[in-house]
């Protein structure tokens, strides 16, 4: 695999050697200072795969970064000797998971300390320049790139290229290894559960199980026994000893989804686990030690729940809210949609039913076996033997981008998968044609799928009124119209403080028609008594 490698070095020699000894990659640079390096990185717009960074920069003082005012000659020399580390620090801030190979011997610097200072140990590698040879460097670059490719595509977690997600990834990889709880915040479908299972637990280094509990599905009175276990007879219907989720996740990870639903009793017990590291089954006196990495997720504002008294302040503080991770909604990741589409479909195409459909399609059109490539936007690629192309024209992608995705990643992957399913079905009925190896996912199909999405929201506003209309594909026009009218009436009623005359003036141009408005109000099934309570 050819990679784009930026060399940041005050000398030409390494760049020359790389070009000569490892010609399979494309090299940029050498950039001789941070200024040059940052310019190259900006121009490359995320296409740099790896940075080879020297540590000692013998360059003019004005090109150095780091505090240099009033420094003695010796201190300036020291700044030059460690300039690469200053560059690394800035690089880490802007490109958190860009792999950087520091070209220096480990013993030359207090490397471990420096790496920790820069919060960069995960993506920073060392090339011992005292003994390096072409084969070593070649092997190291290949290993880093392979690991990076693996990380970008491993499991069902999609990271994309946005800086926000890269930062989240870096923070999570640090938090995953520690003992403190992790709080994941984010809208539904944004991938909290996937992150907990496939990233945090996978990187925690814990040999135990991953146990997930969705607290929104556990009845309040069973919550404590579900989490902490119970002994026979602890409560009515408790016919045997029961192991709770904490014990099941001992030495592993426990993921508590919708933690805002935790009952106050269970909150108290959870606090005790976090403080003491022990649990006591319901009805038991014996304390049991548990070592669990706790990950909690919520879509609610826990801080607000604390002020409202529904969530314990001491538990909230124990959950380490300062390091909570907020996942962006898909609507905030529009730049990632092309990659996300490829990512989702790559996974979907591994499922037997979709693979079977693809095989059927190949058979009908007498196409040989081979890979399926997903092309977001055009143009139609040249035909390659065995390659089946799923082409999403620009207009289809535009529909994806303009949609709000209230169901986030979950909704996106479903729509993308359905799009392929229906496109395959449509095309299987068509025989002949020039390019049967290209399956176009047409805008009309996407439009239909988005219309049929479980919820689509639109906002109407006028004269200071705004309300949302929830539509469903199975709704009749009459239902949509009545829903819309009903909400308009409610909004108007509230604005006019329950004055039907004023409403009639707005709706019919004459407040004499108040009675007519009230009749329609009743026909729409609206209850004046309930609305009056809202006014109060």
């Amino acid at each position: 695999m050819m990679a784009d490698i930026l060399i940041v070095d005050d000398q030409d020699r390494y760049a020359e050697l790389c070009r000569k000894a490892i010609p399979e990659h494309r090299y940029r640079g050498p950039a001789r200072s941070w200024k040059e390096a940052s310019e190259t990185l900006s121009r490359a717009r995320g296409r740099i795969d790896l940075v080879l960074l020297d540590v000692h920069f013998d360059i003019p003082v004005e090109q150095l970064i780091g505090f240099r005012d009033g420094l003695s000659d010796r201190e300036l020399n020291n700044l030059k000797r460690r300039q690469g580390l200053h560059i690394l620090e800035v690089l880490r801030g802007r490109y958190p998971d860009l792999p950087v190979v520091l070209m220096t011997s480990r013993e030359e610097l207090e490397i471990e300390q420096s790496a920790e200072d820069f919060n960069a140990e995960e993506y920073t590698y060392f090339l011992d320049d005292d003994f390096v040879d072409a084969r070593t460097l070649k092997g190291q670059i290949a290993g880093i790139l392979a690991a990076r490719q693996g990380r970008d595509s491993d499991g069902p977690v999609f990271w994309g290229r946005s800086l926000a997600m890269r930062r989240i990834r870096q923070r999570l990889s640090i938090l995953a290894r520690g003992r403190l709880p992790v709080v994941l915040l984010g809208p539904t479908g944004s991938g909290k559960s996937l992150l907990a299972r496939h990233f945090i637990h996978a990187r925690s280094g814990r040999p135990g199980r991953f146990v997930a509990v969705d607290l929104s599905t556990v009845p309040t009175d069973l919550m404590a026994s579900h989490l902490f276990g119970s002994v026979k007879g602890a409560y009515t219907g408790s016919i045997s000893d029961r192991t709770g989720a904490f014990e099941a996740a001992d030495n592993g990870t426990l993921f508590l989804d919708e933690v805002g639903n935790l009952s106050l009793d269970a909150q108290k017990m959870l606090l005790s686990v976090l403080q003491e590291g022990t649990i006591t089954r319901l009805g038991d006196l014996k304390e049991r030690a548990v070592d669990v990495k706790l990950v909690v997720a919520t879509n609610e504002n826990l801080a607000k729940a604390v002020t409202e008294g529904t969530f314990r302040a001491d538990l909230y503080m124990r959950l380490n809210p300062a390091t909570s991770i907020s996942l962006p909604s898909l609507g905030d990741r529009a730049l990632d949609l092309d990659k996300l589409l490829q990512f989702c479909l790559k996974q979907a195409l591994q499922r037997p039913y979709l693979r079977g459909l693809v095989d059927d399609y190949r058979q009908v059109h007498r196409l040989s076996a081979g890979p399926v490539q997903v092309h977001p936007r055009g143009p139609v690629p040249a035909a390659e033997p065995g390659v089946l192309v799923l082409l999403f024209p620009e207009r289809s992608m535009r529909l994806f981008r303009s949609y709000g995705w209230p169901g986030n990643l979950r909704e996106f992957s479903m729509v993308a998968e359905n799009a392929v399913l229906f496109a395959l079905a449509e095309m299987s009925e068509v025989t002949g044609g020039d390019r049967t190896d290209v399956i176009q996912v047409r805008p009309k199909l996407i439009r239909d799928l988005l219309r049929a999405a479980p919820s689509s929201e639109s906002t109407q506003s006028g004269d200071g009124l705004s309300f949302s209309v929830r539509l469903s594909a199975s709704d009749s026009l009459n239902k949509v119209s009545v829903d819309c009218e009903r909400q308009y009436f409610v909004a108007l009623y509230l604005r006019e403080r329950g004055d039907f005359g004023a409403m009639a003036r707005v709706l019919l141009g004459d407040d004499e028609h108040a009675r007519k408005v009230q009749l329609r109000f009743n026909q729409l099934g609206l209850k004046v008594r309930e609305l009056k309570q809202r006014l109060n």
Binding site: Q11, E16, L17, A21, D58, D73, R74, N77, R135
Partner: protein, 152 residues
Amino acid sequence: MKRTLENVAPETLGPLTDHVGRLKHDLGKYVSLQARWLGEDASTADRRKALEADLLSTRRGPDGSHAATSVWDEFRPGLVGAGDLGGGARADLSDDPDLISLQHNMAIIADVSAALRANTAGDEVVARGADAALLVAEACRSLARRVRARGA
């Protein structure tokens, strides 16, 4: 008293560490860079080319190309008590084993460089130059390591 690193005054260790650090960066790192990258089965022509790059263009940057001998001439005075290391500090390491090795091998490199420039370097001269370059790199590393250890 022997003029070795062990006898350098403590207050001189700071400037000396800087000086030796730069020596390692400017000379030790590059003096046998290409030769080191060559496999054992490299041809004589490749070895000669690599040695020419290492010895005659040891440092290469925007300010041009500098031979190993000229880089050494820049640093040598500071190591034999003939140059100011900064703030009036001086260090004489003339009896230090690493400096003796550096002086000896840099003298060989000066001869080999002249032969390379005159295009008279035979296989034996090339091999001698490559060995000397390796030893210079090793001496730079060793000296830098020892200076850091003493200053720590």
